[in-house]
Amino acid sequence: MMEWAWLIPVFSFAAAPAVVIFGRFLPGKGSWISIFAIAGGFLLFWLVLGSWMDAEAVGKCFTSENTHMLTCDYERSWFNAGVVGAVGSVSLNWGILIDPLTIAMLGLVTFVALMVQVYSLAYMKGDPRFGWYFAIHSLFAASMLTLVLADNFLLLYVAWELVGICSYLLIGFWHEKRSAREAAKKAFIVTRIGDVGLLIGILMIWRDVGSFSMLDAFEAARTGAMSEGVVTASAILLFLGAMGKSAQVPFHVWLPDAMEGPTPVSALIHAATMVVAGVYLVARTFPLFEAYDADPLMVVSIVGLVTALGAATVALVATDLKRILAYSTISHLGLMMLSLGAFGYTAAIFHMMAHGFSKALLFLGAGSVLHSTEFQETGEMGGLRKVMPLTAIVFSIGALSLGGIPVLAGFWSKDEILIAVNDHRNVTFIVLTLFTALLSALYMARAMFLVFFGQLKDQNSHVHDAPAAMAFPMVLLGILAFGFGLISFNWPGSYGGIGTFVFFEHSEKFHFEIWLGAVSIVLAIGAFVFAHRIYVDKSISLEGVRARYSRILKVIENKYYFDEVYQWVIDRVVFVFSRFIAFFDRAIVNDIIVNGPADVTRKLGIALRVHVTGNVYSYTLAMAAGSVGLGLFVWLRVV
């Protein structure tokens, strides 16, 4: 079945134009085409997983020298530039690469996309561009699936840009709103800055390896065909692209603004799937990061830690529900990067999935709240568990999971990250990571208590719970957010936990560091109890703390002034420079180089046109004189 895995994105690629063209004539604006396409993809994912389980290391499948995972690569010729075999001509292949990392991503993307599309049926009901919404969703799913299946950098880059444009279209979906338009442009441009690094990195690898194939690049890095400098530089450049897509500091500014899009979009693209593309890229090209002294991984872990910590503090003071979740997403993406940077390959992928399910659930829950109350500010909510119990339960499961409360998915994955950081990085890292975990539990508790607990406001008394199409995906995701941690254990039989499924170089049985687990449990539960006392019992007042640290609080509430600094740079540097360039273009290029020759030609024409009199005899005279002159010339030559 594995060689047919390329069909997974093809279903959705086909669905997108079908919905656009025929959607208006079909019931439900063709939304079911899109849903069936992604459901087909989800079904195929299981078949691919099953056939991977049965696969042997023969033929197209082999045990990778780099990751030591069973990897299958199916490629065929894409196009040839120049004559095949001649010097200087390029032959490109494209194909799909299937290893546990790909399979994990396929499962995450197809499942969350399916859930979100079903949810959108109810959430987007009555929207004038209902069909268009599903078409872009299909295109996004197809691009994202291509991205995770791609076995070469060029195809990956194409898919990378495609998910970028889908993100742009979906953030700006309600483009009647100025803020949505601005946010869409911001997201696109900021991620583009990182993408430039990605492209340069890919071309650098191509120059040294002579191929866009990832496996060739890893092989070259492993055998030393690529020098240390090139490997390190290209890894850092690839990471630049990953930073843009995964909203790492300092490229994180686009993600909170991306909340202008419809909430299901935030759930799918800006929480569970597209933003983890950066994490996926680092994991996919891990052999490049890890080659030689693994210097790039130090950069990855520092960027990840700064992002995780910074975003967690902002999430703690944000008041807009979706923005709390957005900063929480940034923080958790930072944790995944930190984990990768600390050689925690398994932990990062595990957390990516656990976070994907939990955060998608939280966003869908938030969507249900916004849909019903039409408020986004947490200050307008409170006590909603009385009117929307189901949403309250599933949202709480998501919040507890991400907060790291034991037996929920997020607890196990966060624990793996803590172990990885503890094993491979120094004590500063583990202390700060634990602090981030504490903050993570605090802001999750805060969001949960502010929205669903306390007094119900009168303005919200009419609020109703989610309709079936919205409840069903939330419940399924809730089950996963609750029980997904089960896959990390050693079950009786051949399965030895997620560490034996997706790993880098060494497969690891499930293990649990007692003291780390104890500390993180104490921190998480303590945070929830503390938050309960503040926001529900109101037995602890924060006013004193607020007053004492008002300055620090102001900096955090202004998101560390990233947006202001960028605005200043754009106004004072970029615009001034572009004004100069514009002047150069108009004065030199346009007026002199382009219009100059045209002017000369025109003036010459005016001067020369006087001979065209329109009188027949003057032409005849000229002809006769010319003939005589020609005759004279020939005669004189002859004589």
Partner: protein, 106 residues
Amino acid sequence: MVDLVWFQLLSAVLFVIGLYGVMARRSAVLIIMSIELMLNAVNINLIAAASHMEGIGKFSDFDGQLIAIFIITVAAAEVGLALAIILRMFRNKSTVNVDEINLMKW
């Protein structure tokens, strides 16, 4: 046999008369007639030369007649075309005076 130079003289006189006609006449029809005169002057020159001379080099001794017949054919076609143009001209401007037909100037 009449000397070749007389034929050439006749040809030259006819040609110059035709040229004068083209330059001095105002009526398009008369200009066409003058052009015909010039063509016939050339024909006389060619036929006379052909009948008075042996072929030289790659020219055979009846090439002159041959070219003359070509010229007559082309002239017939040209007259047909020119008269059609003049007819259209007259339909549009109610005149065949070439001085008044000066649209194609700056």
